[in-house]
């Protein structure tokens, strides 16, 4: 359903005059280009691959959260028949890291989290490798771990990385504090927040928390690597970012890029967990030690939960000053990101959250301190939403609490404070009409759940069930978290029969971008969709560069590159055609099959005739294979000032809103979600079913975070729920009774046909919406996640809440009481 606010705008891409009321393929319902292979079981994933001579790897993992490695005895394992290579940290002096180079390939001297890899084996079979791992004996000296981020920033906290001061890191974006556990401090200072508090009628401060969760792609991490003589390395990996993987690999091992090849066939889900570099360096080292034999490692589900990274936990403190008429005047936001044992993406999550921290609201005076904190736990990597799921729990709960405290309806409060054309963001960016329309999203969500009243059917339901119904509407926003110089390329090759094959390195991880790109290319070329083939496998030797498949930026950046490539292909075809037809470029036009003279259309030459070179009747030839290339780099973005946080980080802003209806049993805390409506301003829908699939899929993943997901540790840092037994994810039965997906189209002027990304946004604010609706229904005020029935009951009974992510923690982060003061503004 298209909400009424869309506009027809000319020039929807920076390329030319495109009236997208006239599109043939854009916006139409078309099936996915990759689903048939997946439906027949023919699609290849790395786990399905076998290479002659392949060995199988297994990993010895630490049972401790923090310990010194006193010695590793591999003699018995080495003697086992069928074992071809064993590695320990002593032999590998390589460190890896996206932004902070802090992680050895195997733990060296010290283990920093439960589940960390300490040794690895490659053997003829998985069973032999496993047996060998059991025979490896590691002597540890256990050390007291630091587990809670607030403990980790105390003066006397043990240092997870005492050598942090010596690490390489990306200094344009990050500010570590050596001699502490803070590997990044992102600051933002806008206006004068203390003065704003003095002017405020109300000041409200509260703390919100959520635990780490796992991505749970149904396909676990898997890689096959061959490290041949002369350092020719080939990596097959279930990975989201082949070029970043190659880049980090080469940096770690000091190899030139043209020696390393990364190939990604199909990926069984990523959600950010496969965005960087993970098991590939270790597998590569095993191959090298085994004389270049291919080595395959497939993570078990349990390893996926602890050896592989998760999503950082967050403690978020928000202090808001509000005027007497309900306008936010100032806001102080402090984020404590629990990065776990390594910085990985967590430092960037901190940065990206820092500049987005206040939500889609106008905050004239703002102060943000966002800390990335090391602790001795499995570490946080990119996760769909890149920090936004975590902090929107805080912000959107906070908006409701603020509104309730000042006696204003929470939706009215949001509309009053929402960003609109002329508003300025936290980083000083001015919102324009075409940035997007969060208020339209709020209004659509409001309508979808009939916010503010109970319909007759709902009243009847309440009477019958005895449960109380509550409704909420929340807003959200996100911009792609990426460097200002993020770039991508697309190559379009015309085949002899005038079909086109597209090569690019954006990966298809399920999000549907391949289909959208096929539609964009088909539209750009004016070819029918079935003549466009998107090359499924990504290969860094063959495909042009793409930064990473993250951040919901693929559609915009790669879509634009694809349009440029299409233009380039056509230009080259026209050049050849002009000679053949003895015409000027300006007089030429084309359709799906041929280039012709516009005012004399019978004079034409087919694409087939030109596709790989044109031969005149006498044999003389011109042209050559028609290949179009397009490169696109993010435009107009800047670094953020490290002191003030000011700058232009946002490629685009995708706004959205959710409406949620929940019914709660006030006696037991049990609840049912009756409806979730999700609204996103996507600029332009390229593929309606794909947008809907992202909206609903992300919504349910967001509900998983809200309802049942979360890592639990004991006081020694052991992960207590490292499998599906106690780490649950939503099943089909966990769908709300009703789901609705709505789009708004405020065109992105520099997006392909006006489109902007929406891959992450569907998950961002669902948890907060649920928490708000539950509170609206029964008064239970929850500030920590997940929201189990027991947590609702505890809140209703005014019982002490349970910090269910570090059992029996002395920390009261989820026990925080709100501080609500009515202020006398300075006279």
């Amino acid at each position: 359903m298209l909400a009424a606010n869309s506009e027809k705008v000319k020039d929807s891409s920076m390329l030319g005059d495109i009236q997208y009321g006239e599109t043939r393929v854009i916006g139409k319902r078309t099936p996915r280009v990759d689903s048939i292979e997946k439906l027949t079981g023919e699609a290849t994933y790395v786990g399905d691959m076998t290479i002659p001579g392949m060995l199988f790897a297994q990993v010895k993992k630490s049972p401790h959260a923090r310990a010194r490695i006193l010695g590793i005895d591999t003699r018995k394992a080495t003697a086992l028949p069928g074992v071809r290579a064993i590695l320990t940290g002593d032999e590998l002096d390589y460190r890896v890291g996206l932004y902070m180079v802090d992680k050895y390939v195997l733990a060296k001297g010290e283990v920093r989290h439960y589940g960390e890899a300490v040794a690895a084996v490659a053997a003829d079979t998985t069973a032999i490798a496993r047996h060998a791992v059991e025979l490896i004996h590691v002597k540890y000296e256990k050390l007291p771990p630091v587990l809670h981020p607030l403990d980790a920033i105390r003066e006397d906290a043990p240092l997870v990385h005492p050598q942090m001061g010596n690490y390489d890191y990306m200094d344009t974006a990050f500010s570590p504090i050596p001699g502490s556990n803070i590997c990044n401090h992102t600051k933002l200072r806008k206006g004068d927040v203390e003065a704003a508090f003095k002017e405020s009628e109300w000041i409200l401060e509260r703390e919100y928390t959520n635990p780490s969760v796992q991505h749970v792609p149904i396909e676990t991490h898997v890689a096959i690597v061959t490290w041949k003589h002369n350092d020719q390395v080939t990596i097959w990996s279930s990975a989201q970012s082949p070029f970043t993987l190659r880049n980090l690999f080469c940096m770690a091992f000091k190899l030139s890029h043209n020696k390393v090849r990364v190939i990604v066939p199909n990926v069984g889900g990523g959600f950010g967990g496969k965005a960087g570099i993970h098991i590939e360096p270790l597998v590569a080292c095993l191959s090298r030690k085994a004389g270049g034999c291919p080595v395959k490692f497939t993570a078990t589900r349990e390893e996926e939960f602890s050896l592989l990274p998760c999503r950082s936990a967050l403690t978020y403190r928000v202090k808001t000053g509000v005027s007497s008429d309900g306008k936010i005047i100032g806001q102080k936001m402090t984020m404590y990101w629990d990065s776990g044992a390594y910085a990985d993406y967590a430092v960037n999550v901190t940065r990206a959250s820092g500049y987005s921290a206040g939500g889609p609201y106008e905050i004239p005076n703002a102060w943000v301190d966002a800390y990335t904190i090391y602790t001795n736990k499995p570490f946080g990597t990119a996760y769909r939403g890149f920090g936004h799921v975590e902090f929107f729990w805080g912000i959107e709960r906070h908006m409701d609490l603020v509104a309730n405290a000042i006696g204003m309806d929470s939706l009215e409060f949001r509309k009053k404070n929402a960003l609109r054309p002329g508003s300025v963001t936290l980083t000083g960016e001015k919102i324009e009409k075409h940035t997007g329309n969060v208020i339209a999203c709020l209004i659509a969500a409001e309508k979808a759940v009939s916010y503010g009243k109970l319909k007759a059917g709902e009243k009847k339901r309440e009477q019958k069930s005895g449960m109380k119904i509550g409704k909420s509407v929340v807003a959200l926003h996100k911009a792609p978290a990426m460097p200002p110089c993020t770039a991508t390329g697309v190559i379009l090759k015309m085949n002899e029969d005038a079909t086109v094959t597209a090569n690019f390195s954006l990966t298809e991880i399920g999000q549907g971008t391949y289909t959208a790109l096929a539609q964009i290319i088909a539209e750009g070329l004016r070819f029918p969709l079935h003549r466009i083939k998107i090359s499924q496998e990504t290969d860094t030797d063959r495909d042009p560069y793409d930064w990473q498949t993250v951040a919901s930026k693929g559609l915009l950046l790669t879509g634009n590159a694809a349009l440029l490539a299409a233009q380039d292909l056509l230009r080259k075809a026209y050049e050849v055609a002009a000679q053949i037809l003895r015409a000027q470029h300006v007089d030429l036009d084309h359709d799906a099959d041929k280039v012709f003279i516009r005012h004399n259309p019978d004079v034409s030459v087919t694409f087939r005739e030109m596709a790989v070179g044109y031969a005149f009747p006498d044999g003389r030839s011109i042209g050559g294979p028609l290949i179009g290339t397009g490169s696109y780099i993010a435009q107009g973005l800047t670094h953020l000032n490290k002191e003030t946080g000011q700058g232009l980080p946002a490629l685009d802003w995708t706004y959205g809103a959710h409406g949620v209806i929940v019914e709660v049993n006030e006696h037991t805390g049990e609840y049912n979600i009756l409806k979730v409506a999700s609204v996103f301003d996507v600029g332009k829908v390229i593929n309606p079913d794909a947008v809907r699939g992202q909206a609903i899929g992300g919504m349910l993943q967001g509900l998983g975070t809200a309802i049942c997901e979360g890592y639990m540790y004991d006081q020694e840092g052991h992960l207590l729920n490292p499998s599906f037994t106690d780490n649950k994810i939503p099943t089909a039965r966990d769908l709300p009774l009703e789901v609705e997906s709505i789009v708004i189209e405020t065109p992105q002027l520099d997006g392909p046909y006006g489109a902007r990304g929406v891959g992450e946004h569907s998950m961002i604010a669902v948890a907060a919406a649920l928490g708000n609706a539950i509170q609206q229904a029964c008064g239970a005020e929850l500030t920590h996640m997940p929201i189990r029935f027991e947590d609702v009951w505890r809140a209703l009974e005014k019982k002490e809440s349970i910090d269910n992510w570090i059992t029996k923690s002395p920390y009261g982060s989820c026990k925080s009481e709100p501080e609500i003061r009515k202020n006398r503004p300075a006279q």
């Binding site: 069973a127 496993r130 006696h667 037991t668 309802i707 049942c708 639990m712 207590l720 729920n721 037994t725 106690d726 649950k728 939503p730 099943t731 089909a732 039965r733 966990d734 189990r788 029935f789 027991e790 009951w793 505890r794 019982k799 349970i802 059992t807």
Partner: protein
């Protein structure tokens, strides 16, 4: 599988007895395998032999007689139980509880007897069977003996079964036939989950029974309340009988609370 083992598929009960006399310490019998293979993979069980009972026809016995009641052989799966017309009609509590056990795919393999023998405190089948006065028939080379289910399960994952014995079948007597049954299971999601705490109710003509799982080392049976007993009294009796714990799934407080809540709900639904 992590652990290597031999697989034996006996064709008769005599063969089983022979095997168990020789290898009982290093062997495990199984039918569905849905608990055993999870345990083997997790390294919690390391048998040298696994003995598959499915080729023994008599263990697939599944019959109903109004006088004798229900006979559920060792190899009868949970889905077979749920689908059986007599179960749906006369022992609805078994079907209700059975539908809560894991997933459809698991129920196509997991057996009722297996679930009982595993004796997990959160098992779904034990509590309704307890309400129904079920007995297990234990078989060995020395003969067979009947043990009341309430005596059979002795602790967390432990039963009176000796290493050389198997459970041949479960007998569900006819005396509680057509009783009204109910089963409430607290889970962390609406989808498949272990029972965080669960309560089974059986309401006969002149008796009320409850059985509670995941609130003590073994399922707790509460019998026999006159039908006029108040909800409050039953709740009080339940609270005295259970000993829930705190764990990663739930606090003992909430477990205890939900036992009472489920008792009330079941009583209201049973009318």
């Amino acid at each position: 599988m992590i652990h290597d083992f031999r697989y034996i598929r006996p064709k008769s009960l005599e063969e089983v007895h022979d095997l168990l006399s020789n290898i009982s310490e290093q062997g495990c019998v199984f039918s569905g395998g849905t608990d055993l293979f999870v345990d083997i993979r997790a390294g919690l069980s390391t048998p040298d032999f696994v003995v598959d009972l499915k080729a023994i026809e008599s263990l697939h016995q599944f019959s109903f007689d109004k006088q004798e009641g229900l006979i559920i052989g060792a190899c009868v799966t949970v889905n077979e139980l749920i689908r059986h017309a007599a179960v749906q009609k006369h022992y609805s509590i078994l079907a209700t509880a059975g539908r809560e056990l894991a997933t459809h795919q698991i129920r196509n393999r997991a057996t009722v007897v297996g679930n009982v023998v595993t004796a997990s405190p959160c098992g779904d089948m034990a509590s309704p069977l307890l309400c129904l006065d079920a007995e297990v028939v234990v078989l060995s080379s020395k003969g067979s003996r009947n043990i009341l289910l309430s005596d059979f399960i002795t602790g967390v994952k432990s039963t009176r079964l000796r290493p050389d014995e198997i459970v041949e079948k479960i007998l569900v007597p006819g005396r509680m036939i057509d009783a009204i049954g109910g089963y409430k299971k607290l889970k962390r999601i609406r989808g498949h989950d272990l029972g965080v705490v669960s309560v089974a109710l059986l309401k006969g003509k002149d008796t009320l029974r409850f059985a509670i799982s995941s609130a003590a080392p073994t399922p707790v049976l509460l019998t026999d309340f006159p039908p006029s007993t108040s909800v409050r009294d039953i709740q009080a009796a339940a609270q005295r009988a259970i000993s829930p714990i705190d764990d990663v799934r739930c606090s003992k407080e909430y477990r205890a609370f939900m036992v009472s809540a489920f008792i009330e709900r079941l009583m209201n639904e049973a009318g």
